[in-house]
């Protein structure tokens, strides 16, 4: 393809340059710092120190084990649930459509906090059961980690498997039946091998998310050393000093994710099968006895997913004395404090999230357009670099950004710019995925028609392509908004005093034992997240989750 410099060649180069500078360069700096010692000479001292630190080794093993266990649990929850929804018809089934929305809307930190309020050692349910003589195991540590993470991550498996089941050609199963295998054996031999890759791909995603998880780990892992927690703590204590250890730990985290991605590319994606356009089998009505079970299951899952929301709002209106919650007594104090006396976190969150959304969506649309419609070497490189942030946890990304932009000619540390930057970079891949899938379906011919009628290519982009993408733009914006405003792990690393966002404040209040105030901020956060979604769905009639 001809590389014409104006306008697309130039823009592609500019996008690439921006990404290389803000994504690739910090990663390079991070890697560099991990192999430099205090005198500036190359050395593997940091890695050796890590290998010798039994606490680190323990954390490493724990993180991997936690990843495996949680992944297994999410598969055990997500797969049967998806199968149930795809293949059966039962009362109240349409409530499940709410689930993916809930998972996105409720930030992790609120999930963790709420479950603590309910099942923690001093939790509502724990105390209630203790009154009956039933002692629940401590929610801190493995129990709480596995339970809360499973609840937060199962939707990845659920949605992935649901899509695979819905795209599965029912005729394959009929072919199996016609050849003599019973329905059960047919599903085993025909359905499972074809749907398995979808499960695996999403399972690997869940694994990397668990290993890099910040909020729930920090909240619940008190006696369980974990990689993500250790990395963050090392960063905090090394601040201003030699960043070797934190860099080395970050590199280890990146290595784990890279390893998982490698496995995914080589082993799993080879087995993803394209199927001819077939009809999925229509959902079957379930007999009344079983239908009760199905509805109950959906109800249970829904309730577990909704619980954090309910608890947060109840907690926001509950009276407190210092750190003690007086359940049953109501008060507006916490809310008043959050909204009136100390609303800076709310303002900050709104500011940063809006800026990040605008920057992110604009960049995503432009970059997607270039990658899909104007393929050149530069745009292909763009395609790969954009995906990089997906591979690293927020903590690691934050560390890389701080190390890079703390000194030198461009000092962004301590400014809002670095917050906005961290958000935009982290969530860019999602906005791009969204934009890309829409752009795929916009045929070249409409642009050519516009050009043939005398409108320049650049103006065609604004007059023809963008309007055609309107729905996608809105849903990208909302997705970016929702995910940046609840971002925590990169924020915690990158922020400085005065720049706290709502998630940071919630975290710090929970850390300080102020659960009432934390709930108040939490309620504000959830409200600010839900509002645009409600507007999008009701007013603009956009289905946010069709292009996942």
């Amino acid at each position: 393809m001809n590389i014409r410099w104006w306008p697309w060649g130039l823009l592609a180069a500019a996008c690439l340059a921006v990404l290389l500078f803000f994504v690739l360069y910090p990663l390079v700096v991070l890697f560099g710092n991990s192999v430099l010692d205090e005198s500036g000479a190359y050395s593997l001292a940091a890695f050796i120190a890590l290998a010798r630190d039994s606490q680190f080794v323990q954390a490493f093993q724990n993180s991997l084990l936690l990843g495996v266990v949680v992944t297994a649990c999410t598969v055990m929850v997500g797969v049967p649930f998806a199968y149930m929804v795809a293949r059966y018809e039962f009362p109240f089934k349409n409530l499940v459509a709410v689930l993916p929305i809930l998972t996105i809307v409720i930030p992790e930190i609120i999930v963790g906090q709420s479950w603590l309020l309910v099942l923690g050692n001093n939790g509502l349910v724990t105390n209630w059961l203790a009154g009956w003589g039933i002692e629940l195991p401590s929610f801190y540590g493995w129990t709480g980690l596995v339970l809360s993470m499973t609840l937060v991550y199962y939707t990845y498996i659920y949605l992935g498997v649901l899509a695979a089941l819905r795209g599965f050609d029912g005729q394959l199963e009929e072919a199996g039946l016609s050849l003599g295998t019973s329905p059960f054996v047919t599903r085993l031999r025909v359905l499972v091998p074809v749907v398995a890759p979808a499960v695996l791909v999403n399972a690997l995603v869940v694994f990397t998310l668990v290993v890099g998880n910040f909020a729930l780990s920090m909240l619940l892992a008190s006696r369980v050393p974990l990689l993500s927690v250790m990395t963050y703590n090392t960063f905090v204590s090394e601040m201003g000093g030699n960043p070797a250890l934190q860099s080395a730990m970050s590199v280890v985290s990146i290595a784990i994710v890279a390893g998982v991605l490698f496995v995914q590319k080589r082993v799993v994606e080879r087995k993803v099968y394209t199927m001819t356009q077939g009809r999925a089998p229509a959902p079957r009505r379930v007999r009344s006895g079983a239908s009760l079970l199905f509805t109950a299951t959906v109800g249970l899952v829904l309730l577990a997913s909704l619980l954090p929301l309910i608890v947060v709002f109840v907690g926001a209106f509950t009276a407190t004395s210092g750190p003690v919650m007086h359940w049953g007594s109501w008060s507006l104090d916490s809310l008043q404090r959050a909204l009136q006396a100390a609303p800076e976190p709310i303002v900050n969150s709104l500011r940063f999230a809006s800026m990040a959304t605008v920057v992110g969506v604009a960049f995503a649309v432009l970059a997607s357009y270039l990658i899909i419609k104007k393929r050149t070497l530069a745009t292909q490189a763009l395609d790969y670099v954009v995906v990089l942030p997906l591979t690293i946890s927020g903590t690691v990304l934050g560390i890389a950004l701080v190390q890079t932009f703390n000194t030198g000619w461009l000092v962004l540390a301590g400014t809002s710019t670095i917050m906005v930057l961290a958000y935009a970079v982290r969530r860019l891949p999602f906005a791009m995925r969204n934009a890309s899938s829409t752009l795929f379906n916009i045929p070249e011919s409409i642009e050519e028609a516009s050009i043939s009628l005398g409108v320049s290519p650049l103006m065609t982009f604004f007059k023809v392509v963008l309007p055609a993408m309107k729905a996608s733009l809105i849903s990208s914006a909302i997705l970016m908004w929702v995910t940046t405003i609840s971002e925590l792990s990169a924020s915690m690393v990158v922020y400085t005093g005065g720049l706290e966002t709502m998630p940071i404040t919630i975290f710090r209040q929970v850390d300080g034992g102020r659960l009432g105030l934390a709930s108040a901020y939490g309620a504000a956060l959830v409200s600010v997240i839900v509002l645009p979604i409600v507007i999008a769905i009701k007013v603009f009639r956009i289905n946010l989750f069709s292009t996942k």
């Binding site: 394959l172 072919a175 003599g180 054996v185």
Partner: protein, 359 residues
């Protein structure tokens, strides 16, 4: 190999009755085709025979076994689907072996029979390939091999050739027929392509809105269509309402067309004076120059002309009569007419007239 008896099958979807008390008997080893436009119920009937739909009324028998309520995986059928339904995660070999493995056949035996089946469809060297690496025609043949290798009692085929290009379609017709004849399997074939049906079938059941409009050999359906629907579906026909003026002899009837008194063939009882429907096949009408005028030839003018290589199709407007479609086969220039030419049309005396209410 089994004969299939369909006895009064009824099938409803929601409030719609798709199959209406349908009965059909397919003799052991015969190749029967269900033919009709989309929505006529042919696929529904096939799926009832397969067992994927349970009929709401009636019975289904393979030989003497009542299989009406037997689930599909126990009916011992072989089915070829419209888009082949090959298992994408399995090689050609494993696809074909699937049914044998389900029947607990020994491994060595499986290897032998699969190799034989693939060989018969000419794909012996593709045994290790995956469906994604095969062309449409190759996949079709694997699907066929898979259905036949298990030696089922009946073979069911649901528009298996619709997704192939024209040339491949013709080739596969022969492949299917050869294999089926050799195995002697009772076959029910569904298609909407009448040429395919005519070429391949022992008998054809033309279906119309859940009923069988006519069951017969290709010659019967083409030569003696029972009603206008069948006449129009098989081949093409000019269907002309004509007043009948009584019978001349048994099997003959007189009628009026474009001011001429003509005679034609009839089946069934004498129509007497009344309305009839003349079935005049375009390729049987003779087209000649306007002069000299022939007795029983109807004068007219050429409205349109389409040259199609092996034939030329005309639309002729009769003076005092309707438009007729006429076809001339062969490329002889001498008999070619142009638009606007005055011509005369001769309707052969063996053209059939059926009673109007038979339509």
């Amino acid at each position: 190999m089994a004969a299939i008896t369909i006895d009064g099958i009824v099938k409803q979807f929601g409030g719609l009755t798709v199959l209406q008390q349908l009965s059909l008997h397919v003799p052991d080893g015969a190749f029967y085709t269900l033919l009709g436009p989309s929505g006529c119920g042919k696929t529904t009937l096939l799926r009832c025979i397969a067992g994927f739909y349970e009929p709401d009324g009636g019975r289904l028998l393979f030989d003497r076994d009542d299989v009406t309520r037997t689930p599909p995986h126990r009916r011992d059928i072989g089915m070829v689907f419209q888009d082949y339904a090959l298992f994408p995660d399995k090689t050609a070999f494993d696809n074909v072996a699937y049914g044998l493995r389900a029947r607990q056949v020994a491994r060595a035996e499986i290897a032998r029979r699969v190799a034989e089946a693939l060989d018969k469809v000419g794909l012996a060297e593709l045994a290790a390939r995956y469906p994604a690496q095969m062309s449409g025609g190759q996949r079709q043949r694997v699907a066929l091999a898979r259905a036949l290798v298990i030696r089922p009692r009946v073979l069911l085929m649901d528009e298996p050739l619709s997704n192939l290009d024209a040339k491949m379609r013709l080739q596969m017709r022969d492949v299917i027929l050869d294999l089926v004849r050799e195995a002697g399997i009772t076959t029910v074939f569904v298609t909407h392509d009448q040429e395919e049906a005519l070429a391949m079938s022992d008998r054809i059941a033309i279906m119309d809105r859940g009923r069988i409009a006519q069951l017969g050999t290709p010659e019967e359906l083409y030569g003696t269509p029972a009603n206008a629907y069948v006449a129009d579906f098989i081949g093409s026909a000019n269907l002309l309402p004509v007043p009948t003026t009584g019978a001349a002899e048994p099997g003959r009837v007189r009628y009026q067309l474009a001011g001429h008194a003509l005679e034609g063939r009839r089946d069934g009882p004498a129509p007497g004076k009344g309305q009839g429907l003349l079935i005049a096949r375009p390729e049987e009408l003779a087209l000649g120059a306007a002069a000299p005028p022939q007795p029983n030839a109807l004068p007219g003018r050429v409205l349109r002309r389409q040259y199609l290589g092996f034939k030329t199709a005309y639309r002729v407007q009769l003076h005092d009569g309707p438009e007729l479609r006429v076809e001339q086969h062969g490329g002889s220039h001498a008999s070619a007419f142009q638009v606007g030419d005055a011509v005369q049309v001769l309707i052969p005396a063996h053209s059939r007239v059926i009673a109007a209410d038979n339509a």
